[in-house]
Amino acid sequence: MIVDNLPALQVIVPLLGAILCVLVRRGWLAWFIALVVSWIVPLIAVALILQVLDGGVISYAMGGWAPPVGIEYRVDLLSAFVLLLISMVGAVMLPYANLSVESEISDGKRAWFYALYLLCMTGMLGISITGDAFNAFVFLEVSSLSTYAMIALGKDRRALLAAYQYLIMGTIGATFYVIAIGILYTMTGTLNMVDMSGRLGDVATVRPLFAALAFLTVGISLKFALFPLHSWLPNAYAYAPTFATAFLASTATKAAVYLILRFFFSVYGVALVFGIHPISEMLIALSLMAMFGASIVAVYQDNIKRMLAYSSVAQIGYITLGFGLANVPGLTGGVVHLANHAVTKGALFLAVGGIVYRMGAAHLDDFKGIGKKMPLTMAGFTIAGLSIIGVPGTAGFISKWYLAIAALEHGWGWLVMLLVLSSLISVIYIGRVVEVAYFREPEGKVMNATEMPLSMLIPAWVMILATIYFGIETSWTAGIASQIATDLLAGVQ
């Protein structure tokens, strides 16, 4: 009974958790509820991915209404992978939240924060599991609205402006998405993705389909902050509560990337998206601009949270670069970077969160000599930084390796050189922080800093060890990703 309804439970458990959080009103109790929920959700995700690996795609009819009329929850390997990724990140990070959130958010609002967190989780899991295009929109809005509110809870007052700007941009993105769905619905008469994909071939004129694709691409690109639509992201990440930043940086963009993969490869299919128009070139160009533009900006940032946010924009460029290359290693690299970047950036933000916890801020000056005072935190930051750079033995290397192979399969040696050049820029911005942390003498507030509490240190180090683990043992990341890539390129399922 429970096993049959796992797809529904995946979404409903966090949703109910959110309601409970609001009802209990107490910060620590809400945290505890969120913790329990965050630990149940990945169990469901593991069960789902095992089922998928074992028996193929799971199709679940919501409320017993058979698709395509009813809403279908559809779990294939890609869905299961993203579900597992998002829920695992939540499970690892939540123990960290209690102290970090306590120090940044006032008592009365803490329960609301956890409710928002669970709603956001609900939305992202929903996006990844649903097989219905409009249902995906609903979940997209659930996650986005809760994200705006979470960002606005940041203690810096600039958080309000950041949340407002994200609200406007996110709404534009959502609107574009709805417009696209509207066009698709008019042309095909269905909202079920599988059904829609089957009927695309019968459509009389293809031009409206491409208009829909344009709206889709831009709308979703906004959500995952593809350059030049990234401008909401740096402030949002910099001024949101640190825990929210860490969680969102690891997951939020990933759910949106999932959605675009779904439409590109499962609904439209490779031939339609990449075969006729130079979308590949467009994606590669935008990705390169992200990789270089955002990385160079990151070099000059003194607010470390903002620096990492720009680095995220650059890293999203690697993901979309893989999609633009549109061959098996490229897609593998893009998909595996979803996971690798999630753990790497999560580790970095958790480490920085520890410094925010002790110092009250994460300005470069706050890092002076902190390597001596918080050795474990900074060692972790450095290791995760190596993964951003792409040093072998870390997760980041795996992604870059696949991307390099993908570029070479096209015979584009120049792209490989650009790839490695962009990682040299990340050496500079990571190295700058490491240099200040280790080579400067501690002064001022740093003198009294101590290692962050264990409940924060352990989650941070789990993430850090994961960046190393996924750099060595890759069957759960690259292995599955290459399976996904093969499936996606094989065409419409």
Binding site: A214, L229, D302, G413, V416, V420, L424, I472
Partner: protein, 561 residues
């Protein structure tokens, strides 16, 4: 019965290095001494051939592949780790010892790598660990370490691009001899050469090595460049371009070493010089030359470590490193002086020392191929080596004028390390047989013929004579030698000040305009990307919406066309 142990010897050292900071001080010394011995035993207990395989990102890696060449390098690397560890026992900075062991372990990892991906992984680990080793001595080493790591990461990415290209174009990850006939292979070669200290990026070596601590430099001298020699031996034997690169390195090292005043920088330049001999040997590519290169790498690690140990001992006891500040130390440091002289004789290839039996093989390789010019240049360079490392280092440090310092001998652990290396230097020189038996190809070469010995003695005698005749010119003053690294070290003030001295107007104008261009480029980047630049500012919401619309319009246009 022999037991087959299938454990990578490099991993023993890496694990020992990682454990060092975690263990109590009492256990450190035993770990430092025992780990290299275990690794040494494993090197000799491993069966030949591909021993281990490992699945990684869809390839079947061979992290452990044993043949005579890798066993030879494995032997000397583990001996070196032992002697270096012994010498460093008095080192109090755990970070340095830990990174030294990880560094030595990853060098061993490269040596036993059966495929290109493993090579690359250990290559990068080596770069990271050696940077930490340099950084751990603090002070001026911090900036030098930063320049060092940038060059090595650059080398690493070039190597990665090359390896990825090689794998895609050939479909094989095996690490075997390659022709230089495709761009990925050229990139691989370039990546290897950067670590060998080849031009134009050679300056990282004399820039960074002397800034490490008294014990750190000993480790550094052994692994990075010799690992590069190993991969060149394995990957590019007989690549003709290496002859010219090697010869350039030989003379580059000599010229700068003669001009240099800092005793450890002299020895650092002399590393480039010696590696130049080896690179030339690889370029010649006959069995004789390759044997000679392998033997010379073996011998070189020992005597260069010995030289740097004696320099390190002087530094440890006096805190001074410039020739102008030193001198006359033989009175109170006779053991250190003797060991230094043994190292100096070996590097000069004096008969009955290890240098003699190895370097002459490379020259013989050139002679066998009738490469007259190469042979003569190598002979001339041998004289130059005697000049800068053979006489200059011991003369200015231990003899010459009396500096007035009366330091005592270094602690016991350091003396024992020097004894071991000295014994090896002379032992190999007197009984070359065991070393020759280890070489990758059968050896048909007798070093001690009358002609060889007389030739070498004449060479040394005359260059020795030249040294003392020219002593006044060679007397070291407080100078700083400028090398290529100067171009990428501090821009700005340094640039302006140095150019006043040079006072070559045209050159100044040329470089200043280049500098202005660089400066305006940097400020242009800063303008656009800096904290207030267009890309870093908080955009007004309207601008964000504008870009969204613009991108939408672009997509629609693309689809419309």
């Amino acid at each position: 019965m022999m037991i087959d142990i299938l454990f990578p010897p490099g991993l023993v050292l890496i694990l020992a290095g990682l454990m060092l900071p975690l263990m109590g001080e009492r256990f450190r010394a035993p770990t430092i001494l025992i780990a290299p011995l275990i690794a040494f035993a494993i090197v000799w207990l491993l069966p030949s051939g591909p021993v281990l395989t490992f699945q990684y990102i869809g390839y079947e890696l061979v992290p452990l592949k044993v043949d005579s060449l890798s066993r030879l390098f494995g032997t000397i690397f583990t001996i070196m780790a032992f002697a270096g560890g012994l010498f460093a026992l008095k080192q109090e900075r755990v970070l340095e010892l830990a990174s030294a062991f990880v560094y030595a372990g990853s060098a061993l990892g490269v040596v036993f790598a059966g495929d290109l991906i493993t090579v690359f992984i250990f290559w990068e680990l080596m770069a990271v660990a050696s940077t930490l080793l340099i950084w751990s001595s603090g002070g001026k080493a911090l900036a030098a370490g930063q320049r060092y790591v940038m060059i090595h990461l650059l080398g690493g990415v070039i190597l990665m691009a090359g390896i990825a290209g090689e794998i895609v174009s050939t479909g094989s990850i095996a690490f075997e001899a390659m022709d230089t006939n495709s761009w990925p292979r050229w990139l691989i070669l370039a990546g290897f050469l950067i670590n060998a200290g080849a031009p134009p990026l050679a300056a990282w070596l004399p820039d960074a090595y002397p800034e490490a601590s008294w014990s750190g430099t000993v480790f550094l001298s052994a692994f990075t460049t010799k690992t590069a020699v190993f991969v060149l031996l394995r990957g590019f034997p007989g690549a003709e371009i290496l002859i010219y690169i090697g010869l350039y390195m030989v003379f580059y090292g000599i010229v700068y070493a003669i001009l240099e005043n800092d005793m450890r920088r002299i020895l650092a330049y002399s590393i480039i010089n010696q590696v130049g001999f080896m690179v030339t040997g690889i370029g010649i590519g006959t069995e004789m030359a390759l044997n000679g290169t392998a033997a010379h790498a073996f011998a070189h690690i020992i005597y260069k470590a010995l030289l740097l140990m004696s320099a390190g001992a002087v530094l440890y006891q006096t805190g001074k490193r410039k020739c102008t500040d030193l001198g006359g130390l033989f009175r109170t440091m006779p053991i250190t002086a003797t060991c230094g002289i043994i190292g100096a004789l070996s590097i000069s290839a004096f008969p009955l020392t290890s240098g003699f039996i190895s370097k002459s093989m490379i020259s013989q390789g050139a002679a066998d191929e009738h490469m007259m010019i190469v042979w003569m240049l190598l002979a001339a360079a041998s004289a130059g080596v005697f000049l800068h490392a053979g006489i200059k280092f011991p003369w200015f440090v231990f003899f010459q004028k009396d500096s007035g310092m009366r330091p005592s001998e270094p602690p016991r652990s350091m003396r024992y390390a020097m004894y071991i290396m000295s014994v090896l230097c002379i032992g190999l020189g007197v009984f070359p047989g065991p070393l020759y038996a280890l070489l990758p190809y059968p050896v048909d070469y007798v070093p001690y013929t009358g002609a060889h010995v007389v030739f070498q003695l004449q060479l040394l005698l005359f260059s020795g004579l030249a040294f003392f005749l020219l002593l006044n010119l060679l007397k070291r003053t407080l100078t700083i030698t400028l090398d290529f690294d100067w171009f990428y070290r501090g821009l700005g003030r340094v640039l302006a000040r140095e150019f006043d001295n040079m006072s070559i107007a045209a050159w100044t104008a040329f470089v200043e305009s280049g500098y202005r261009a660089v400066q305006s480029f940097i400020s242009a980047i800063y303008r656009h990307y800096g904290p207030n630049g267009i890309l870093a500012r908080t955009w007004p919401t309207g601008n964000m919406a504008f870009w969204t619309t613009a991108l939408l319009a672009t997509y629609l246009l693309i689809f419309f066309l």
